[in-house]
Every structure is written in C-alpha cells, then in structure tokens.
C-alpha cells in the first residue's frame, strides 16, 4: 500500500520505504517495526492510538516482545525521518498518559479495489481516501450530469415555448407593410395567378400597403364548376389594421362576386 503524507512524503508500506514524493533517491528504509508503527498511525490518522494498542499491534502480534522504550525510540526515529524529508512540523503528537496521534493529510493510492474497500470497511479508519482517476471520472460524470439536463431543459423550453404560444396555421407572405394570409392555406399550382388577381384587386380597391401596417386575409372561391357552363368567382379580402402593439383595431372587408354564363 502506498500512502502520501501531506502530499510530500511517499510511504511504501510494502517495501518499508519513506521518501519524498517523486524522488526515489531520497528513500529511507524503515525497520519492520517502524513500518508497522507508521502504518498503524496512518490507519488511525487524526485519532489517538493508545500505547497498549500500538505495542500489541506492532510487537505482540508479530511475536515480538513489547517494550515501551522500543515504542518511544521508534516514534523518535519516525519524527527524525519526517524532519529529514522536510516536514519541519511535528506530525506525530504525543498524547500524555495515552498514546500517540498522527496529524497529517493522508492520500491513498489503492493498487487494488478489494484492498481499497476492505480498508474502508474498518470503522476506525479515518483516511482522506483519494483515488485520483476514479474521482476525476466521478466529478466529470457529476458535472456533466448536471450540465446536460440543464441544457436539454433550456433547449426544450426554448423550442416549445414559441410553438405553444403561436398557433401557426396559415401560409403568409408580405406586400410592403401588409402581411398577406391565404385563408385557404393554398400553395398550389395557381398561386401565381391568384397573386396577380390579388394584386389587381388590391389596387382596384385602393388598399394602401405602403402606409398601413395591416394583415390582409384573402380567399378565392370558384362556386360553380366550369363544366356546367357557369362560373361564379368570389374574391374575399379583409384588410385588418394593426396598432404598434400588433393588436387589430379595424377590419375592412371586400367581397366581390362575379357570375358568368
């Protein structure tokens, strides 16, 4: 297991090495007890570990004779190594009549997920676990997870809002300041012919599209089919004037029917 103490010191517990981060040349080889002692302090980082606990874990469980003097010597040696590696502040605190406490920022680089989660399961662990790659992925996902739905919300609303507010159901074009709307909604083959007839009708009735801001609704109707040798053509046109706020104020209707035989 590899630990990083205050981001400056790299502790390789498997090999018992203590070194500056990224500088293997600075490595200091710890004794087995020193390595286990530091591991225990890291495991309980921020919490006071009793002398008895340390003696049991580091010495008795390794079938070694526990000794207060040995414990104190190894603590002093660790302090000396930290000082040599540039941590001037004492990070191994002596808690009188109790034990010792490590006060440092510990980062862990887990080399296997099993060991990572087995370490996390222990309740006495107070590690600041940072798995760089996974945390980066999680942060990316969380960030994108908020951004993309927000973007989707904004895009959806900006598309739906105009569509829902305006009922678009007529074809429209423009003639000067007049908006022309065909009530029949035709885009058929006779559109050019109709436009010509419409323009003629507008001129004939002195409808002013240069001055008036208005909407012109129109519809051409053939009431009787030509096959019956009769023809009734109806032109309906309504010019509805608009105010500046586009509210319709007045409509003038032009209805012209011509019957032919």
């Amino acid at each position: 297991m590899e630990y990083f103490i205050n981001k400056r010191i790299h502790f390789d517990s498997d090999n018992g090495l203590l070194m500056l981060t990224g500088n293997e040349q600075s490595a200091i080889q710890l004794s087995r007890q020193g390595c286990r002692l530091l591991s225990e302090l890291i495991t309980h980082c921020g919490n006071t570990v009793s002398r008895e606990n340390l003696l049991q874990r580091v010495w008795e469980e390794q079938a070694l004779t526990p000794s207060d003097g040995n414990l104190s010597n190894h603590i002093s040696l660790l302090r000396k190594h930290f000082f040599q590696l540039g941590i001037k502040k004492n990070i191994i605190i002596t808690v009188p009549k109790t034990g010792f406490r490590l006060e440092a920022d510990i980062s862990l680089r887990a080399f296997s997920k099993e060991k990572f989660f087995s370490l996390k399961k222990r309740k006495d662990i107070s590690l600041n676990i940072t798995d760089n790659k996974e945390n980066k992925d999680q942060k990316w996902i969380q960030k994108k997870g908020h951004v993309y739905p927000l973007i989707a919300t904004i895009v959806t609303l900006s598309v739906l809002l105009p569509l829902s507010l305006y009922k678009v159901n007529r074809t429209a074009s423009n003639l000067d300041r007049c908006k022309i709307i065909d009530l029949a909604g035709n885009r058929g083959l006779y559109l050019a012919e109709e436009l010509k007839a419409l323009t003629t009708f507008i001129k004939k009735n002195n409808i002013d599209c240069k001055k008036d801001n208005s909407i012109i609704y129109f519809k051409f109707t053939n009431a009787l089919p030509r096959q019956n040798n009769g023809d009734m053509r109806v032109i309906f046109l309504a010019q509805c004037r608009r105010r500046n706020d586009n509210r319709i104020t007045h409509c003038a209707n032009y209805w012209s029917a011509t019957l032919k035989r």
């Binding site: 908020h146 989707a152 739906l160 009530l183 609704y217 009431a223 109806v234 409509c251 003038a252 035989r261």
Partner: protein, 180 residues
C-alpha cells in the same frame, strides 16, 4: 465498483429528475396554451363584433350591386342576435342609404362552430331609404342563413357562408359604465 455504481445511480436520478421536470413543463404548456380557450366552444357565445364592408355583386347580364358601409353583429341573450347595417347601397334602381337592424333567432352549434340564423324582423331607422324588398333581395336573400364562425386571431372573427368567407370583424369588449 459499488461506490461507482452508487455515484452513477445518483447522477442518473438527477438526469431523470431534470427530464421529468422538462416533460412536465412541456406538457403543461402545450395543454394550457394550445387548448382552444374560445367563447365559440360554448353553445351560447356572447358576441359583439364590427367591421367595414365593401360588397359587390355582378350577376350575369345585370347591373352591379354595391354596398359600402359597416356591419355590426351583437348577440341579445342566448337565442337572439342583431345584425346592424349602415352605409350606402347602389343598385340599378338608384343609390340608397342603409341604416337598419335585422333581428334574428340563432342556434349555435359549438361542435362545428356553425350558426343557424332565422330572420324574425327588422328595425329600420328613419335615416334608411332602401325599399324593404330591395334590401332583402340585395343583402339578405333568404330567411335562414348558415354562418360558420372562426376565431382567426385575438379579437378577430371570420363569418363564412358555406361558399365563401363573408365578413371579418373585430370584437368589442363590453365595459361596465356607471349609470347616472
């Protein structure tokens, strides 16, 4: 792995929440704004509408009939309607001044916005100079009329006969005036 899955599940919940809110807002807006909030979906629409008219009718081998003026339509309760004509009527018989109100019974069909109108009488102003028969022949033509009523835009109505649009008018708001 478990931690990663937990984190992904949380993110997915957030995404689902946003999508759900978006869909809910969209559905609300579509049902609210696209619904037909229309007087003309009810069997007794209240109506007060006015427009300028320029009608011309050219029968075969006959003189052109022209009317220039204004028409107002106003409902009188749930069964009667008034059609007011004012303006000038030009016929082969001469030029006449029109100022009269036709009273009609109406039956409105909200399912297809069609109004059945039955002529019941007329109130003729003293300013009106059109002979009744001439007026009837030129502008009414039948005791019953079928009119489709369409809301073309805000405060804009289109009245159409079965053959063609006839008249577009702007609705008038009815304001309460203090009496006395």
């Amino acid at each position: 792995m478990r931690e990663l899955l937990v984190s992904h599940a949380k993110t997915m919940r957030i995404i689902a929440l946003y999508c759900g809110v978006t869909i809910a807002i969209a559905v609300f807006m579509m049902t609210y704004f696209l619904r037909d909030k229309s007087e003309f979906d009810t069997p007794h629409p209240a109506l007060s509408c006015k427009g300028e008219v320029h009608f011309s009718l050219q029968p075969p081998e006959a003189t052109l009939t022209v009317m220039n003026g204004n028409i107002s339509i106003i409902t009188l309760g749930t069964q009667r309607l008034a059609l007011h004509y004012s303006g000038q009527l030009r016929e082969k018989e001469g030029v006449f001044y029109v100022n009269r109100t036709l009273l009609m019974d109406y039956l409105y069909h909200p399912e297809n916005h069609v109004m059945e109108l039955t002529y019941t009488g007329a109130h003729v102003s003293s300013l009106d100079t059109v002979p009744d028969a001439l007026f009837y022949q030129a502008l009414v033509r039948s005791n019953t009329l079928l009119m489709r009523v369409d809301e073309v835009g805000h405060n804009l109505l289109l009245f159409s006969s079965p053959e063609s649009p006839q008249f577009m008018c702007t609705t008038q708001s009815i304001s309460k005036r203090p009496v006395g």
